[in-house]
C-alpha cells in the first residue's frame, strides 16, 4: 500500500509533463513535423525557474503569490483524485465538492493576478475564464451527482470507479465520460474552447491571463495547468478502466495508458478541429450540461428497470 502511494506521488509529478509532451508530439505528427521531445515541458520549466521574473509596476504582491496558489490547488486536487485508478493519497466524504472548489480557488487566484496587471487583455481573459467556469460548475456536479447516486458512493475515487460491469447502465457511463471530456477541455484550456498555442490575445482565454507572468511564476502556472490536465484525465481514465477500484499494478498501468490515450485524443482533436467562436463556447459547455442532465435522468431509468 505504501508503494502504491509512492507510485501515486510519482505519477502526480511525472505524468503532467509526459501528457503535455504527448499532446505536443501528436499535434506535430498530424501536421507532418517531427515535434519537440516528450519531456519538453520539463526543459521549459527548468529554464523558466532559473530566470529572474519581471513584474509590472502596476502589480501588487498578489501577482506573484497567485501562481503558487494555483500550483498548490492543482496538486491538492491531485491528492484526492484516483490517479492510478484506485485508492488516492487522501479521500473523505464528499471530497468531490472540495475538489471542485479547490479548482475554483486556483482559478480565482489566476484571475485576480490577471486583473492585477491592469491590462485590458488580461481582464478580458479573466472575464471569459470566470464565465466559462461558472457555466461548467453545474455540469461537473450533475455528473458527480449522477455517478454518486448510481453507485451510492460519496468519495471521488469511488464514484469514478463505477463501470459498466458493476451494473451501471452504459448510457450513464458514456454520457459521464463525454461530459467529463468537455469539462476537461474547458478546464485545461484545450481546443476547441481555447487555443493554447495561439498568440492572438483577443481570442485567448487562459494564455491571455498569464501574458505578464515570467520566470518561475510562469513555470508554476504551466506546471499547475499540466497537473490539472492529468488529474482530470485520470478521472476519465478511471471511468474507462475495467480494472479500476483495486490497487494493483495492472489497474495502475491501464490508467496511465488511458491517460496517454486521452492525451492522444486531445492532440488529435486539436489538430483536426478549429477553435470555436467565443460566443459559441457557452453552447459547447451546454452540451456537457445536457450530457450530465441526461446521465442523471438515466439513473432513475436504471433504478426503475431494476425494480
Amino acid at each position: 500500500m505504501t508503494l502504491f502511494r509512492i507510485a501515486n506521488v510519482v505519477a502526480l509529478v511525472v505524468m503532467p509533463i509526459l501528457m503535455t509532451g504527448l499532446i505536443g508530439r501528436v499535434k506535430s505528427l498530424w501536421s507532418g513535423r517531427k515535434g519537440p521531445p516528450i519531456l519538453q515541458l520539463a526543459y521549459d520549466l527548468w529554464r523558466l525557474v532559473h530566470k529572474r521574473p519581471v513584474y509590472s509596476t502596476t502589480t501588487t504582491p498578489l501577482f506573484f503569490v497567485a501562481p503558487q496558489l494555483f500550483l498548490i490547488s492543482s496538486f491538492a486536487s491531485g491528492l484526492i483524485a484516483p490517479l492510478l485508478g484506485s485508492l488516492p493519497l487522501a479521500s473523505f466524504q464528499f471530497d468531490f465538492v472540495w475538489f471542485a472548489y479547490v479548482w475554483a480557488l486556483g482559478r480565482v487566484a489566476i484571475m485576480l493576478a490577471a486583473l492585477d496587471t491592469g491590462s485590458s487583455f488580461e481582464g478580458m481573459g479573466a472575464a471569459r475564464e470566470a464565465l466559462f467556469s461558472a457555466l461548467l460548475e453545474p455540469a461537473l456536479f450533475l455528473v458527480a451527482g449522477a455517478l454518486s447516486f448510481l453507485g451510492g458512493h460519496r468519495t471521488l475515487h469511488e464514484i469514478a470507479t463505477l463501470h459498466v460491469r458493476a451494473g451501471g447502465p452504459a448510457v450513464v457511463w458514456v454520457l459521464a465520460v463525454a461530459a467529463l471530456l468537455i469539462i476537461l477541455q474547458v478546464e485545461a484550456s484545450r481546443m476547441p474552447v481555447d487555443d493554447p498555442s495561439t498568440h492572438l490575445e483577443l481570442t485567448m482565454v487562459h494564455e491571455v491571463m498569464v501574458l505578464d507572468h515570467s520566470g518561475p511564476d510562469l513555470a508554476a502556472i504551466q506546471l499547475g495547468a499540466a497537473t490539472k490536465l492529468f488529474v482530470g484525465s485520470s478521472l476519465v481514465a478511471t471511468l474507462l478502466n475495467p480494472w479500476a477500484g483495486s490497487p494493483s499494478l495492472l489497474s495502475g498501468l491501464t490508467n496511465l495508458l488511458l491517460c496517454g490515450l486521452v492525451a492522444i485524443f486531445f492532440g488529435t482533436v486539436e489538430s483536426l478541429v478549429a477553435r470555436l467562436k467565443l460566443r459559441a463556447v457557452p453552447q459547447y459547455i451546454a452540451v456537457a450540461l445536457a450530457c450530465g442532465g441526461v446521465a442523471l435522468l438515466a439513473t432513475i431509468w436504471r433504478v426503475e428497470t431494476a425494480k
Partner: protein, 682 residues
C-alpha cells in the same frame, strides 16, 4: 448508603439549587435591558460625541457581557431561561424564554452590534468634525441591541411585534443618517414601506392564530400549529412571506440594495449581517413550534431558497455600486441558508434524522458565517467609501497600493463569501451539499431533484466566484480608473479593529470546522437527537485536517514567493507592444460581466443610453451608457402605477348617486389608503 428519603431530599435540594441558579441567570439576562436603556438615555443626553459614543459602547459591552454570562449554561446544554409575568387582560401573561436557539443568535448578534458601534465611531468621524450630533445614531444602535434581546427571548406575540417594530424603525432611522440627500430618504422610505408590508402579513398570521387559540402566547400557538388543521398551511405561508420579506428573499428583496447602498457602512453591515437574521430566527422559532412539517413545506422552502440564491447572485454580477452588490449577495446567502432549512424540513417530514441534522446544521452555520463575512465586506466597503467618497467600481481601481489593510481584509471576506476553501463559507456550503447529494430521499425522483438542486447551487457558487473576482479585482487591483477620485487615508483603529476581528472569525471557523459545529451544537440539538450529530461531526472531521493543510501550504508557498518577488525587476504591463497605455484602457466592471449579461439577458435586463458620434468628422463627443436595473422592482412599480390608474379611472365612472357613491367612496378610500404607500414611493 442513603435511604430513599434522604436521596429524595437531596434531589429536591439539587432541584431547588438549580431553580435559584436559573433565576439568578434570568435576572442577569434581563438586567441587560435597563443597561441598554441607560445607554440610550446617556447617548441622547450627553453633550459631546465622544462621550455619547462611549456611553453606547460601554452600555452595549456591559449588556453583551451580562447576556453572555447568563447564557453560558444554556449554551452548554443546560435548561432554557424561563419566566412568566402576569399582565392585565387581554394579554393575561407575558412569557419569556431563551432556549438554545435564541441563545445561539444572541451570542453573536450582540457582540457584532457592539463591533458595529465601534466601527461607527471611526466611520462617522468626518461628520462629527463638521459638527453633526451623533447622539441619536448611537442611541438607535443601542435600540437595535435591545430589540435583539427582546426578539430572541419573548414568547408573546404582542411583545414580539413590538420588538420587531423597534428593530425596523431603528434600522430605518439608521439608514437615513444622511437624510439631506433625497435618494437616501427615498431608499429609507422604500425600506419602511416594505418592512411594514411584511409586518401586516405577520400581524395577519398572528391574528389568525389568536382567533384560534384565544391567546398571544407562543406556547399556545405551538399547540395549535402542531395539530393538523386547514389553517396550518395558510399560517405557514403567511409567516414564511413575512419572514422572507424581513430577510430579503427574492422576490421580496427590492428594498434591500437601495437601503444598503444608502446607509452608512456599519448600518448596512448590521442590517445585512445581523438584523435581518431575525427573519430566519423567527422562521426557525415557528418551525420548532410547529413540529413535524409536511413534505410540500420542505420542497417549498428549498425551492424558494434556491431561487433566492440564484437571482441574488445573478444580480450581483452586473452591479457597479459595491454596496448594492453586497446587498444582493445577502439575498443569495439567506437563500443558501434556506436551502439548508428546506432539506432539514424534508428530512424531518420523511423521518430521516441525518438529513434533518445536515440541513439545519448547514443553514444555521451558513447564516452565522454570512454574518461574519458580510459585516467584514461591508466594513471594508465603508473604508473604501471613507477614503474615496465613492463605491462605484467603475471609478475605482488600484486601491491595493493605497489601502493595503482594507484590501487584504476585503480579499479574505471575498474568498469566504465565494465559498472557497479553506475559509468558513465553504464549510457551511459543504454541509448543504452533503445533504443535497446524500441520496437518502425515499424516492429516486426526489434524489434526482435534489442533485439537480445541488447543480444549481454549484452554478450559484461559480457565479459567486465571478462576482467576487470582479468586485475585488476591479476595485482594488489595476490602476485608478478615474483621476478625479482622490484617495484619502487608510481606516483608523476603530474601523480596522472590527474588520480584523471579523476576518479572524472567518479564518478560524474555516480552519477549524469543529469549532463552528460546537457553536451551533446546542441549537441543533433542538432539531434532532445526539446520535445523528456525531455523524455530522465525523463527516466534518477530515475537513479540519484538509483546510488547515491547504491554508498552510498557501501561506508557505505565498510567503516564499513574496520573499523572492520583492527582488524582481520591475517594468510596465505588457500591452502587446503598444507604448502609451492609459488607465482608461483597462477592463471595466461592465465589460467583465458583459458576456454573462448577454448570455442571460432575459434575466438581466438593461437599458442602454447612447448618443453615438455622427458624420465622418463628429462635431461633438458621443457617449454610451448601460444600466442594469432590478426587473422585480421595476415591475412592482409598474403594477402599483397601473393599479392607481385603474382606481382613478373607475372612480370617475361612479354616478353621483348618494348611497352608491358613499359605499364606493368607502371602498375606494380603503384601497387608496393601501396604494398611497406604494404609489407615492415612486
Amino acid at each position: 448508603m442513603l435511604s430513599a428519603d434522604e436521596r429524595g431530599s437531596d434531589f429536591r435540594d439539587a432541584r431547588a439549587r438549580d431553580a435559584i441558579f436559573s433565576n439568578a441567570m434570568t435576572v442577569i439576562f434581563l438586567l441587560s435591558v435597563p443597561v441598554l436603556l441607560i445607554g440610550v438615555t446617556l447617548a441622547l443626553a450627553l453633550r459631546s460625541n465622544p462621550a455619547r459614543a462611549l456611553a453606547a459602547i460601554a452600555s452595549q459591552a456591559t449588556a453583551t457581557g451580562l447576556v453572555l454570562v447568563s447564557l453560558t449554561p444554556t449554551l452548554r446544554g443546560g435548561s432554557p431561561l424561563e419566566r412568566v409575568w402576569p399582565w392585565p387582560k387581554p394579554i393575561n401573561s407575558i412569557a419569556f424564554r431563551v432556549d438554545a436557539l435564541g441563545a445561539f443568535f444572541l451570542v453573536w448578534s450582540l457582540p457584532m452590534t457592539l463591533l458595529g458601534t465601534v466601527y461607527a465611531v471611526g466611520y462617522l468621524r468626518p461628520y462629527f468634525q463638521r459638527g453633526r450630533n451623533g447622539g441619536s445614531h448611537f442611541a438607535l444602535l443601542n435600540l437595535v441591541s435591545l430589540s435583539f434581546v427582546l426578539i430572541y427571548s419573548v414568547e408573546n406575540a404582542l411583545v414580539f411585534l413590538l420588538a420587531w417594530e423597534i428593530a425596523a424603525i431603528a434600522a430605518w432611522l439608521l439608514v437615513i443618517w444622511d437624510y439631506s440627500n433625497q435618494k437616501i430618504r427615498f431608499a429609507g422610505f422604500n425600506y419602511l414601506v416594505s418592512t411594514h408590508v411584511g409586518l401586516f402579513v405577520l400581524v395577519a398570521a398572528f391574528m389568525l392564530l389568536h382567533s384560534e387559540t384565544r391567546s398571544m402566547d407562543f406556547a399556545a400557538f405551538g399547540k395549535f400549529l402542531a395539530q393538523p388543521s386547514a389553517l396550518r398551511g395558510t399560517i405557514f405561508l403567511l409567516l414564511g412571506v413575512s419572514f422572507a420579506l424581513k430577510s430579503a428573499f427574492f422576490p421580496f428583496h427590492t428594498w434591500l440594495p437601495r437601503a444598503h447602498s444608502a446607509a452608512p457602512a456599519h448600518v448596512s453591515a448590521l442590517m445585512s449581517g445581523v438584523i435581518h437574521k431575525a427573519g430566519l430566527f423567527a422562521f426557525l422559532r415557528f418551525t420548532l413550534l410547529m413540529g413535524k412539517p409536511e413534505e410540500w413545506m420542505g420542497w417549498g422552502v428549498l425551492s424558494f431558497g434556491l431561487v433566492s440564491a440564484f437571482f441574488g447572485i445573478l444580480y450581483t454580477t452586473t452591479q457597479r455600486d459595491l454596496k448594492r452588490l453586497l446587498g444582493y449577495s445577502s439575498t443569495e446567502n439567506v437563500g443558501i441558508a434556506a436551502v439548508g432549512f428546506g432539506i432539514g424540513y424534508l428530512g424531518w417530514s420523511w423521518g430521516i434524522p441525518t438529513l434533518t441534522v445536515c440541513g439545519f446544521a448547514g443553514g444555521l452555520l451558513h447564516l452565522f458565517n454570512h454574518a461574519l463575512f458580510k459585516c467584514l465586506l461591508f466594513y471594508a466597503a465603508g473604508s473604501v467609501y471613507r477614503a474615496t467618497h465613492t463605491v462605484d467600481i467603475e471609478r475605482l481601481g488600484g486601491l491595493a497600493k493605497r489601502l493595503p489593510a482594507t484590501t487584504a481584509l476585503f480579499l479574505v471576506g471575498a474568498i469566504a463569501i465565494a465559498a472557497l476553501p479553506p475559509l468558513n463559507g465553504f464549510v457551511s456550503e459543504l454541509i448543504v451539499y452533503s445533504a443535497l447529494l446524500s441520496g437518502s430521499a425515499p424516492s429516486d425522483q426526489g434524489n434526482v431533484l435534489l442533485i439537480c438542486y445541488a447543480a444549481v447551487l454549484a452554478f450559484v457558487g461559480g457565479l459567486g466566484a465571478l462576482s467576487m473576482t470582479r468586485a475585488f479585482g476591479l476595485t482594488f487591483l489595476g490602476t485608478p480608473r478615474d483621476t478625479a477620485v482622490h484617495v484619502g487615508s487608510e481606516a483608523p483603529l476603530s474601523m480596522w479593529l472590527p474588520m480584523a476581528l471579523h476576518a479572524l472569525g472567518v479564518v478560524l471557523f474555516g480552519l477549524a470546522p469543529q469549532l463552528a459545529l460546537a457553536a451551533i451544537w446546542p441549537a441543533l440539538k433542538l432539531f434532532s437527537s445526539g446520535t445523528e450529530l456525531s455523524v455530522l461531526a465525523s463527516s466534518l472531521a477530515p475537513l479540519s485536517v484538509a483546510n488547515p493543510l491547504l491554508a498552510g501550504a498557501f501561506v508557505l508557498a505565498g510567503g516564499l514567493a513574496w520573499l523572492r518577488g520583492r527582488r524582481a525587476k520591475r517594468s510596465a504591463t505588457w500591452a502587446c507592444g503598444y507604448t502609451a497605455p492609459s488607465a482608461r484602457m483597462q477592463y471595466t466592471a461592465s465589460s467583465f460581466s458583459d458576456q454573462l449579461a448577454r448570455l442571460l439577458r432575459a434575466l438581466l435586463p438593461s437599458v442602454r443610453r447612447e448618443d453615438l458620434p455622427q458624420q465622418t468628422f463628429p462635431r461633438r463627443a458621443g457617449h454610451l451608457g448601460t444600466h442594469h436595473f432590478d426587473p422585480v422592482e421595476r415591475r412592482t412599480f409598474e403594477m402599483l402605477g397601473q393599479a392607481e390608474d385603474l382606481v382613478a379611472h373607475a372612480s370617475e365612472r361612479i354616478p353621483e348617486q348618494s348611497r352608491f357613491a358613499f359605499a364606493a367612496g368607502l371602498v375606494a378610500l380603503v384601497i387608496i389608503g393601501a396604494l398611497v404607500l406604494g404609489g407615492s414611493s415612486r
